[in-house]
Symmetry: C2
DNA sequence: TCCTAACTGGTAATCATTACAAATTAAAAA
DNA sequence: TTTTTAATTTGTAATGATTACCAGTTAGGA
């Protein structure tokens, strides 16, 4: 837990039990969950937790770049504790988002066609291994 | 216009003036517009056009793969007449989505880590050339 | 020309996210 | 340690894109 305190402090964010809980959850659940899944999973242990706080916290942590936002799924924004640029696979059947470890030649580019790059996103859509075997 | 009739017929979709108008609009407006922009731009010439029809049409055309859906912007789905896999740049300031012509080594992959690939998406987020110069 | 399944258009519902404001709290200052 | 206050949390209400629904219309084959 000291680990998360340190991360937040290093970026000048106030330490609150809600933020620590959410950050720990993301670290331990690398399934690219959305705000609602996080909220529901934490609600049982933290009955007073508010859905708004989950949204606020995710937004605050994204701002200081300690987590990453994934705009891949059409319906909800999903979050990733892993901030190094990496690629994803979205299963069109079960909806899961899976990390794929492939190298990309544009990983370190700072601009394309004169446009300044701040984030790089690559993902595949299809049917995942598990869903393929019925 | 015969061009669009041919495209729709080839895929077994009924020819309707609404569909022809929307498909032509997408062909002539490669700005990756969303449903609402399409609706508003066409409304003046086609006062009876319904927003629902725009959504239905885009969905039907995406199903038969004559247009492409872009899930890049957080708030709305945007559409592209250009269906060959290619990369995009999303400006975080003005919101425009721009084609970028770079080659990708995964362009023709059929699977990764055992997951069957059906679509490949790559995009950059940052500040576009125009917005950079204030 | 007739018939019918497919399509259109208007309105209502859904659902993720944001706005708002009152109550609480982290942490800096005294 | 106590005080102070700006930041945070929470519950509820609003927003906005998209979907559901259904009655009326139409494309296109018989
Ligand atoms: Mn990831
Ligand atoms: Mn494009
Ligand atoms: Zn799957
Ligand atoms: Zn721009």
């Amino acid at each position: 837990m000291e680990k998360y305190v340190h991360i937040l402090k290093g970026k000048g964010l106030k330490i609150t039990p809600q933020r620590l809980t959410i950050l720990k959850y993301l670290d331990e659940n690398r399934t690219h969950p959305d705000a609602d899944i996080i909220y529901n999973d934490l609600k049982s242990m933290n009955p007073s937790l508010s859905r708004t706080t989950v949204y606020n916290t995710l937004d605050a942590m994204r701002n200081i770049k300690i987590i990453q936002e994934l705009t891949i799924s059409k319906t909800e924004t999903r979050y990733d504790y892993h901030t190094d640029p990496h690629h994803h696979f979205l299963c069109m059947k079960c909806g899961s988002i899976i990390d794929v470890d492939i190298k990309c030649p544009h990983q370190d580019s700072k601009e394309v066609d004169g446009h300044r790059i701040e984030e790089i996103h690559g993902y595949f859509k299809g049917i995942c291994k598990i869903c393929s075997n019925e």
